[in-house]
């Protein structure tokens, strides 16, 4: 099997996406954990905390999406 550029890319892309998903998982875990802790301290603010958490999660998720999009930009 000849290892040309396209084959190498096809081999490496899933690993790249996996690493991006790993980072996103860590970041989201921290964000949601902090939100849960804050809700535990003050349950009546849970609505605001939820909204802030969702927005923060969208930012963290976007980084994984960039990795996913790079496939469609490269092919």
């Amino acid at each position: 099997m000849a290892l040309d550029a396209q084959t190498a890319l096809n081999l490496v892309y899933p690993i790249g996406i996996g690493i991006a998903a790993l980072g996103s998982g860590l970041g989201l875990g921290r964000a949601v954990g902090a939100a849960m802790e804050a809700t535990g301290r003050q349950p009546e603010a849970s609505g605001k905390i939820l909204v802030s958490m969702i927005i923060g999660c969208a930012f963290i998720e976007a980084l994984t999406i960039y990795a996913l999009i790079s496939i469609y930009l490269a092919k």
Binding site: A58, F59, A62, Y66
Partner: protein
Amino acid sequence: MAETTTLGAGAEGHAAAAVETATVAHVENAAATTHAASQGHGSGPPEIPSGLDLLASLPFARREFYPFDLTTINPRTGESRTVQVRFTLAEAIHNYQNQFFALLLVAMTAVVLGRRMKRASLARPSRFQALVEMFVETFRDLVCGVLGEKNGRRYLPYVGSLFLFILLSNLMGIVPFLRSPTSVYQTTFALAICTFLYVQFTAVRRNGLLRYLFHMAGEPKGEGLFMTAFMWVIGIVLLLPLHILGELIKPISLSLRLFGNILGEDILLGVFAMFGLSLVGLLGFEQPWVGFPLQVPFFFLALLTSGVQAMVFALLSMVYFLMVLPHS
């Protein structure tokens, strides 16, 4: 290529699950022309075909429109090359369908809102007017909470329109025969460029061009002459390019975030629709154009993602405005 064939039938499966009308001839046309159309520009990620894709699969769209020969003559060497230019209506529809849906959304919103606005009254608001007012008031509170009262009122029309357009565009991807215009990079890039230009224009207009550049260079101020010169050099050589790069990356990240999320949602729905079709084939039934609507549970995820991404885009635009307005 078999994937796209079943995906052409997948439109019927999706439609049959929702609408329960499909004919075999239609399916064959859809399958054949999705196959042919995909050969034109390579197999992309699987998506559920929209109403315009079905329109492009009809026989009338496969006709070539006025094929002509284009002859170019190189004026220096005198050699001439002849190219046959031929395109089909199906390709044109396929290439421009997202812009069509964007235009459709804007036109419908303008028509509906415009007609209703003429009958708006303070004393006896109708239900639609109450709904719209509720939305506007909520968004106005949000914007004024971030930007302050005066600036918030000034930039509320832009941010509100942006949010509404992106929200409705994202939601159009879930409706059966429509496709979301934000699932192509062109639309989201245009939106991000609008925001970027408006923010830069606001920055220059409110602060003055020199003051803005001064701010981007890190506001070099030092105690003595040497410190001032040193800070100026550091500012112009290091900080100014860095800040300019940071400003340029903002529309790219905005557009890519929205585009990636919405395209990912569409692909998710498409993949599960295809999975539903292949499940029917696996269970031994013969009709390939009816499938289990396996993508229906993901409609809720798509609703959440659409709302959140619209909110994030509008909120980030607000934050960019906040960062360039004079801090008072």
